[in-house]
Amino acid sequence: MTDAPSEQVADQVEISCQACGSTLLLDSHLRTTVCPYCASPSVIERPPSPNRPAPSFVVGFVVDHDRAAAAVRDWISSASIFARSDFKQAAPEVTRGVYLPAYLYGAVANSSYSARIGEDYTETETYTTTDSKGNTVTRTRTVTKTEYRSLNGEHSTYIVDVVVTASAGVTNDALEAVEPFDLRALRRYEPSFISGWLAEDPSRSKDDCFQLSHDESVAKVEQLLHEFMPGDSHTSLQFQTNLSNEVIDLVLLPVWSFAVRYAEDRPPVQILVNGQTGRVGGKVPISTIKVTIAVLTGLIVVGGFALAIASQN
């Protein structure tokens, strides 16, 4: 943003603190601010627009800053052995609790499917073998075989509680890593709920979010269909899903966002903590050196065995 100062102005709004009257400059995707002069928490409300609907729900923070930081430290130290050493020693910094905009999506999913259903049956077959005395004998045994039958059908179900990110700063995978949120703790959105905390407005377009929701819904349908299939086994499941009667509502989710800077030449890693459950999610930077060493060691061991076997023969 430093190289485009004119855009910076366009992305910001000027508001005046209702307590002390000072003028505050605020990023336009934020819903809240705290006045630096008098510490009064303000909540900004804008007229809703298609890409920026008014929030319907909010889930409150349960995990406080200290617990979130402790969870991140535990998570970093228990990271995989292939993680970079400097990452495992890095201290998480710049923590902020933010109400992340997300969409809560639901639909009726009508799917046509086809699959090969495997029905098992047993058959008695005869086979010849040699007994303990070396004679050739004929015996019978029962074997399980599978007969495949094709099945076509229709499947209808409600899809509910699909949560997708509406913030450009957090990818859907990053949000999925800290899901689930317990939606029984949903509250109707009230400005007072986010007062004193950072809260963002949606920064992804609604079309993008619909696409994300559709993808997640289709994945859910696939899982449901796998459970739905009769038979002892099934293969080649194919389906076409049509989503209708859709509902999509904006919900603000509590997330602690941490940045871990582990090397001068690398961008910091974003680690999120579910502000309701304390679940940690993020991408661990893998050390290429460690992986190379492991692969080489593996090759040397295998090569050693091969040599040993070759020399024996």
């Binding site: 709004v13 508001i15 005046s16 307590a19 009064s40 928490p41 303000s42 909540v43 900004i44 409300e45 804008r46 007229p47 809703p48 008014a54 319907s56 729900f57 409150g60 923070f61 349960v62 995990v63 809560l104 639901g106 009726v108 259903i117 029905e119 098992d120 049956y121 058959e123 075989k145 599978t146 007969e147 039958r149 099945l151 076509n152 059908g153 229709e154 499947h155 209808s156 179900t157 409600y158 509910v160 509680d161 029984r184 703790a185 949903l186 509250r187 109707r188 009230e190 400005p191 007072s192 007062s195 004193g196 905390w197 459970e227 739905f228 299939m229 009769p230 038979g231 009667n245 509902v247």
Partner: protein, 319 residues
Amino acid sequence: MTTAIEICERCESPLETGDLRCSICGQVSPADRPHAEKLTVQILRCRGCGAATAYDIKHQAPSCTFCDSVVEVETLEDPLEQSEGYLPFTIGQDEARKAMRHWLSSLGWFRPSDLTTSARLEQLKPLWWVGWVFDAESFVSWAADSNAGSRRSAWAPHSGQVEMTFDDILVSASRGLSDAEVSAISPGCDLATIRKEPEGAQNATIEQFDLQRSQARQQVIEAIQVIAAQRVEQSEIPGTSFRKTSVSVVLRKLITRRFSLPAWILAYRYKGRLYRMVICGQNASYVTGSAPYSIIKIIFVAVSVVAAMLAIFAAVAAS
């Protein structure tokens, strides 16, 4: 009491006080708060002392930093289920006693001959047990294995979809009665006779729902799936034997009512042992319970059957 406030505009199931979303389809219940017309900046102030309020983790709610008072916000409510009304007892104590004698004498020849005369009534207690009664429309998708069309395997896959309506289906929430007892006596209850207060019996045990609304809905939906699977097996799947029946139910207009229903619980003693009986509180012909068998009669029959078979064998061998 939980009451329906409005109808979900998507699946037409009633929403109840404290629902933020429809429990069936997930549609948001309408909010009262109007949207902002223009950009506004506000500082939310404590009603008590006027200081600014902010969300507080400790209270799980917005609260005032100075006087510690908490701001009320609309939360999803999950109250304990409450009965909406009672079906009155129409069977009195004497009729219940008579029903017991009648039932004991109708059990058949394998029971002890002196059962009706020697059974001593130990306890006779009225009970209002609790249950949900629901109506719903649904669209059911099913898939199952059945013997119809099978080739080498005994099973062949089938699938289909069907519209299904549910009228006045009773799901037990009772801890005191078993599911078998409930299904034996519930057809005798007339749901139209509902009253505000318990009527028709003194000193009755009044059962309470011990579930929260969300769990209750879960139980009702599970019951609907079980009933849908049974109906599909009865009338949809071709063939006579089934396995791996799965159903996917899209519900509309799910209306659930919470009832307290009357039953007489009897305990009688026969030769030192206690047996239990349950009689529908509105119709004495719906009775279920346990009763002793006559060991002597059973042994007698078994011995005579064996003797008869031996006699036949002997006759066959002799000829």
